[in-house]
Subunit: 212 residues, 2 copies
DNA sequence: TAGATTGTTAATCGATTAACAATC
DNA sequence: TAGATTGTTAATCGATTAACAATC
């Protein structure tokens, strides 16, 4: 198991995880795929298929134990691990992410913030002093850095991405609208906020056409 | 045409739009599906299929005119329209989005910011004074509001979403980790940043397993 | 005209759903 | 034990890719 799991399945895992969090909050101990399917609006079949990509977490006649399934999914998603993260680009988005509470909750520790603008260097965000981008290499050399969060403009994105990749960062969380393609040993998660904005514009257009 | 276009196709449209923007920048006048496919890393066949959901924008033997395809996609995505937007939740993320430059570029005008915290009310973000959430109803009554950007905590999300929907907002851009399900006349685009973070955690785990 | 490349139909592939035997 | 619900195989559905006639 665990191999050849499709991207579609993987992107649903955090969603399962969120629903299980909610169940735990209201103290529900067990859940069947049928009941979960009603809550989530997907088929019970899909839930069972998805989960069975990673193991038989359920029990016939009983369903799934909420807490243990939650723990298992957390493990698969790496929530139990600690990742050291740096933010490159201390603008508005970098600032927002530095203060993002889910960050720590998902296993990420922010250990550095960098910017190219000398006026920002030395200022503090969320208890961390902004450093010059020139310090990046020596910083990563001294501090194990697992992921880099890139909140910089498109034009510098691929240069910076390649640099951090070369310095041994394992993952990149890319907030620029530019697609990142990097070779081999680094994984990339693109956010592309403005894509969502355009999809929203499309959907509103559709909606208005229907109501005509 | 234009009906029954799958979500997969729609989510690729902003990507095409971005690549066309880049082509325009470097002054490329025309492009074949083959060349675009090489740049984007998807098949030429898919590009032609996708575009033909909306019309025959190309010309046999020639390819696609970059500028006119760009304009057509822009129209489909509503980039040529103006949408009035408000932000609810003037925390870090609300603040970042208020200053987000792509916002205006995609046809959105920010006309109001709201927060429940009295200490924030009266302060200015990006030239707009934060109002109390109590003013929301009267504000939307007086000012045509197309979309609401929700950057508030999960616990209040569905209440606020239902409220703005009832007040006639057409679209919701939801930044809380909670899935929003709303009836009928309002479209929702969920962002769920922490999902991306967990997918990143998963991918890093996979990567490490391979390199073992 | 000849060459290129589209629009579109048909074939393939993969993902979702249905069904049911296994089993708690 | 009987009932419930899983894990898993098989059937269906949809999305992607290939192929090619139409045509610029």
């Amino acid at each position: 198991m665990d191999k050849n799991v499709s991207a579609a399945v993987i992107r649903r895992l955090p969603r399962y995880y969120r629903y299980l969090t909610d169940l735990l909050k209201v103290d529900i101990k067990r859940i069947s795929s049928k009941e979960l399917s009603e809550r989530m609006g997907i088929t019970a079949s899909q839930i069972r298929q998805d989960l069975n990509c990673f193991g038989g977490f359920g029990q016939q006649g009983y369903g799934y134990n909420v807490e243990s399934l939650y723990r298992e999914l957390g493990k698969i998603l790496g929530v139990d691990k600690r990742f050291n993260a740096i933010i490159i680009g201390a603008g508005n988005m970098g600032n927002a992410l530095a203060n993002y509470p889910n960050f720590k909750r998902r296993g990420y520790d922010l250990i550095g913030i960098f910017d190219i603008n000398p006026e920002l260097v030395g200022k503090e965000i969320s208890g961390i002093t902004i450093q010059s981008i020139d310090e990046l290499e020596s910083f990563i050399g001294k501090n194990k850095t697992d992921i880099a969060i890139l909140t910089i403009p498109s034009q510098s994105i691929s240069e910076v991405a390649e640099k951090v990749a070369a310095l041994g960062v394992k993952g990149i969380w890319n907030f620029s609208p530019q697609d990142l393609k990097l070779s081999g040993d680094v994984v990339v998660e693109n956010v592309h906020l403005s894509d969502g904005l355009m999809v929203l514009g499309y959907k509103i257009g559709e909606l208005e056409q229907q109501n005509r």
